[in-house]
């Protein structure tokens, strides 16, 4: 520790601290624009100049390391003079028109100018004008206001992983810009709005819609991926105007993914369902809640009475709250129905009953950056967990070695030490190779169970898997780590794969040998919570896939659009069409709900209270930030009243807190979670490692801005470059095998369904695979996300015939 003095206050600070660190900790304010604790130090704005004893020039507090005995003056004559002069320089070319600036009221420059500026300007020359840039649908620019602090440039390069903005030109002519006519495509781009200390970068969707002082700020939890980012929802006149991050160092730090930031625009979609609706003779009729609930309850009762309770299927979105999931499950239980599930995009359920607890990510979020060796299996990280990916990026920047096994070779914007890009089926064999190589590494004098050893016998270890094994064991280029911190993670593509059980078992065995932490990266905001509460079939019940394969007579669906949110779109569509009754709790009207019979308008996360449990097992409750729209009601209430109407007992909850209380049986949630989270298997499941599989495999990725009903309705997100129509994407060598070229039209078929798509060259796709995005109306005729697929070239005539047929079908 070093002893220093700031403004006469004696402080003890850590070695390596800068003056600004020390001052911030001590609560001594130093003005700054370019400095940000999460970014590299630029020291370019000079606003933080302070006087330091024995130095004849003022020093920048952000870049000056403290030394023992240092005496610092932040408010001395020389410091104030320096700060005021910098403020004067910053303002000479900055427009002095705060009243028409969107940043007005929440502008660092405005705030600091009040303290350090003067009432008039000595500058009478011409002011600089900088042309605005169009950098995409999310961030608006007003570049004349830019003070060249370069926070945005540094963020995109250092945190986003890709240099998308630069400062081009020099001197007074230097401008922040993207490359010529490019936009900023980072999935974390919205953070540059928060970082910009002036009104140069503002939110495009929010622009000129409200003043910061008109907004009510309410805390909430992001409802999309499993990270559980803390957000602050800004509301005006009961309407959500924007979403900003709430600082939570251990989760989202001070950042937010664009999905979490801009999805709120979907809440204000014209698709919002405002009143209950019942289908009468094929036509939708608005009705009141009582009628709707009685109708729904009557239908469910009639069908279960007639066909037995197993004639009902209950499907719950993993983006729904714990309270909603719990009540849906309890309602099914009450009816004696075991067909309940939240795992809509899963196809392999062989691990059911074999787990010791609730699967989770197996590590705390912030610990990722401390890992030395990381293996990511079947995940397009930036697409699935845009902000979490940034933690991995930090780990790699800190020196971690990242190995990737995936059918997709998308750039995670961090260095990959080793990668194996293969068909999903072959990923199992690759994992087997790694396991075998690891067991052979002398350092790990561990034996595998005989059953596993037998499985691995025929497997041949290749150099690239040997390299991954060595990396996981701590071997290094320059030096070896004796006890490396290892993390192994399975992503969405693994979770949706028909051989998930094999992948999981192999990963667990590798983890066991290497002492790794890790687990699955649950896809949705409440996947972990749903699993913990057991929103899954009873021992005799049907899982999500089975409920669609063997259609039920009635469905109760909560917060889902079946064809878009289920593993097998075609099955989902058919099942819903065939059912006698579909009761849908939904916030939106939807083409995908055309086969429903009752639509019950529920409140999205901003209009209800509830709880999500994140991928690291954090139980996070939130309250409504706005009143429910029109006749919308919180889904937990709807489920409660529906249960009441069904005549079920034990649904007397007055508040969502009471439901939460019931979920945790009155215990402290963290205690329940602590007991529950466990990635280990009770026993080794019977698996096969060496299965050959010919034929094309589909990679049915869910694009990040198609992941759930809210996101799908956010216009700004839909305008980003990530919103591309599904195409049949294949690598060059695969195209050659099929005799296709980019731009060809093809008929892709899965099971009985098909889709007509355009061929796109995509060398990020493993050979033997076709990447066809899911959760899109163009591909709702298709089947499994990760399943067999065929591709046929269409002639012009065939294409025309298909187009005509589909037009007719639509009509």
């Amino acid at each position: 520790m070093l002893n220093i003095e700031i403004d006469g206050k004696a402080l003890e600070v850590e070695h390596g601290s800068t003056i600004i660190d020390a001052a911030d900790k001590a609560g001594i304010p130093i003005p700054r624009f370019c400095y940000h604790p999460k970014l590299s130090v630029a020291a370019n704005c000079r606003m933080c100049l302070v006087q330091v004893e024995k130095f004849n020039k003022p020093l920048p507090a952000c870049a000056t390391p403290v030394a023992d005995g240092m005496k610092i003056f932040t408010r001395s004559k020389s410091a104030i003079e320096a700060q005021k002069s910098v403020m004067e320089f910053l303002l000479i070319n900055h427009p002095l028109d705060c009243p028409i600036c969107d940043q007005g009221g929440e502008c660092d420059l405005q705030d600091i100018a009040v303290a350090y500026g003067t009432s008039g300007s000595r500058y009478t020359e011409e002011k600089r004008v900088v042309f605005n840039k169009n950098i995409g649908p999310l961030v608006s620019t007003d570049m004349t206001r830019c003070i060249q602090c370069t926070r945005c440039v540094r963020f995109l390069k250092e945190v986003g992983g890709m240099m998308e903005l630069g400062m081009v030109g020099r001197g007074e002519h230097a401008e922040i810009t993207a490359y010529v006519d490019k936009s900023v495509n980072s999935e974390l781009s919205g953070n540059i709005i928060d970082l910009c200390p002036v009104g140069a970068l503002t939110s495009k969707p929010f622009r000129y819609s409200a003043r910061s002082w008109e907004l009510t700020r309410r805390p909430s939890i992001a409802p999309h991926d499993g990270l559980g980012s803390h957000i602050e929802v800004h509301v005006k006149d009961n309407k959500v105007m924007r979403v900003l991050p709430r600082e939570k160092e251990s989760i989202n730090e001070c950042w937010l993914s664009d999905r979490d930031r801009f999805s709120y625009e979907g809440l204000n979609s014209p698709d919002r369902l405002k009143v209950p609706m019942i289908k009468h003779n094929g036509a939708w009729v608005e009705t009141d809640w009582k009628t709707a609930l009685e109708f729904a309850a009557g239908q469910i009762k009639d069908i279960t009475n007639e066909h037995g309770s197993e004639a009902l299927g209950v499907l719950v979105s993993p983006n729904s709250t714990m309270e909603e999931g719990y009540l849906a499950k309890k309602l099914a239980d009450g009816l004696g129905c075991g067909n309940v599930d939240y795992r809509l995009r899963q196809t392999d359920f062989r691990l059911d009953g074999k787990r010791q607890g609730t699967p989770w990510m197996g590590i705390n979020i912030h610990e990722i950056e401390e890992l030395d060796r990381i293996l990511v299996i079947g995940s397009n990280l930036r697409n699935e967990h845009p902000l979490l990916a940034q933690r991995f990026r930090k780990a790699v920047a800190n020196g971690a070695e990242l190995s990737v096994i995936s059918p997709l070779d998308n750039d995670p914007l961090m260095d990959i030490a080793h990668k194996v890009i293969v068909r999903p089926n072959d990923m199992v064999n690759v994992l087997g190779q790694i396991l075998k190589a690891m067991s052979g590494l002398q350092r790990l004098s561990l034996c595998l169970p005989a059953s596993l050893n037998q499985l691995l016998e025929e497997i041949k270890v290749r150099p690239n898997t040997q390299a991954i094994a060595e990396s996981m064991a701590g071997h290094g280029k320059d030096y070896d780590l004796v006890a490396p911190k290892v993390g192994i993670f399975l992503g969405n593509m693994a979770l949706s794969d028909p051989r998930f059980t094999e992948m999981y078992s192999m990963a667990e065995a590798i983890g066991g040998i290497s002492g790794a932490k890790g687990g699955i990266l649950p896809a949705a905001a409440n996947s972990t919570g749903m699993h913990m509460m057991g929103v899954m079939p009873s021992s005799t019940g049907m899982h999500a896939r089975a409920m669609l394969e063997v259609p039920r007579k009635a469905y109760l669906i909560v917060n889902i659009e079946p064809e878009l949110d289920c593993q097998h779109a075609a099955l989902a569509k058919v099942a819903m069409a065939k059912a006698e009754c579909v009761v849908a709790l939904t916030a939106f009207k939807s083409q995908a709900l055309e086969n429903a019979d009752v639509l019950l308008p529920i409140a999205p996360f901003t209009e209800t209270s509830g709880t999500f449990m994140s991928m690291e097992g954090r139980v996070q409750s939130f309250t409504a930030v706005a009143k429910p729209l029109a006749e919308c009601r919180p889904a937990w209430k709807v489920l409660r009243v529906l249960a009441n109407t069904l005549g079920l007992q034990g649904f007397d909850y007055e508040t969502s807190e009471q439901v939460k209380e019931a979920i945790f049986s009155g215990e402290k949630p963290s205690a329940v979670v602590w007991r529950s989270l466990n990635n280990n298997l009770k026993e080794l499941v019977e698996i096969q490692v060496n299965i050959k599989h010919d034929g094309l495999q589909r990679i049915g990725e869910v694009p990040q801005y198609e992941s759930d009903p809210i996101v799908r309705r956010s216009p700004p997100l839909q305008k980003t470059k990530y919103n591309i129509k599904p195409m049949a994407r294949m690598c060059a060598s695969q195209l050659e095998v099929l005799g296709l070229v980019e731009g060809d039209n093809v008929l892709v078929k899965q099971d009985k369904g098909s889709a007509v798509l355009t061929v796109k060259l995509d060398n990020h796709v493993a050979k033997g695979c076709v990447r066809v995005a899911a959760a899109h109306e163009d591909t709702i005729g298709l089947g499994d996300l990760m399943g067999d697929i065929t591709v046929e070239k269409l002639s012009v005539e065939q294409l025309q015939a298909h187009t005509k047929a589909s037009m007719e079908a639509r009509a």
Binding site: M163, E164, L165, G166, V168, R170, V180
Partner: protein, 157 residues
């Protein structure tokens, strides 16, 4: 697409730096491509950045910072006259006026026939030879007089 000659030249420059620092060759690579193509178009900068495997914006930052790179066409011959203090003291203004009159263009303009572009230069580190100018960055002419300028222009025509 870079020409084979350009690639060979850039590869030579790359030998000067560690293998993981390809970006270091961006100054030379931009110079090489500009010399070959006359100026640096968006496509040229993209070509360079792709070959060096660096973000395009990183290459543009460099191209936009150093004033011997031209981000717009400069005709066949770019004439850059230094007008800084040492040259100014030795009547560079007269040389500039002469060139402007003779070529019929002002600074940063290209003659109608696309042959010449006139630029104002900053100190070239050769003030002993003032007044002076460069032609296409790489040929310097010192101790200029209006007669000498005429002779140089004549030769370029």
């Amino acid at each position: 697409m870079l020409s084979q000659q350009a690639i060979e030249k850039i590869d030579y420059e790359l030998t000067k730096y560690p293998a993981d620092q390809r970006i270091a060759a961006v100054m030379s690579a931009l110079r090489i491509v500009q010399t070959e193509r006359g100026w640096l178009s968006k496509e040229s900068i993209t070509d360079v950045s792709q070959y060096l495997r660096i973000p395009e914006i990183a290459a543009l930052e460099v191209a936009g910072f150093y004033n011997m790179y031209d981000l717009s066409p400069v005709g066949q011959y770019k004439i850059t006259v230094c007008t800084n203090i040492s040259c100014m003291l030795r009547d560079s203004d007269e040389i500039v006026d002469h060139l402007k009159a003779k070529l019929g263009v002002g600074f940063n303009e290209v003659t109608a026939d696309g042959k010449f572009c006139l630029k104002e230069g900053e100190c070239m580190g050769a003030c002993g030879g003032a007044p002076l100018m460069t032609v296409n960055n790489h040929t310097m002419h010192e101790f200029l007089t209006t007669e000498k300028v005429d002779a140089i222009l004549e030769e370029l025509k």
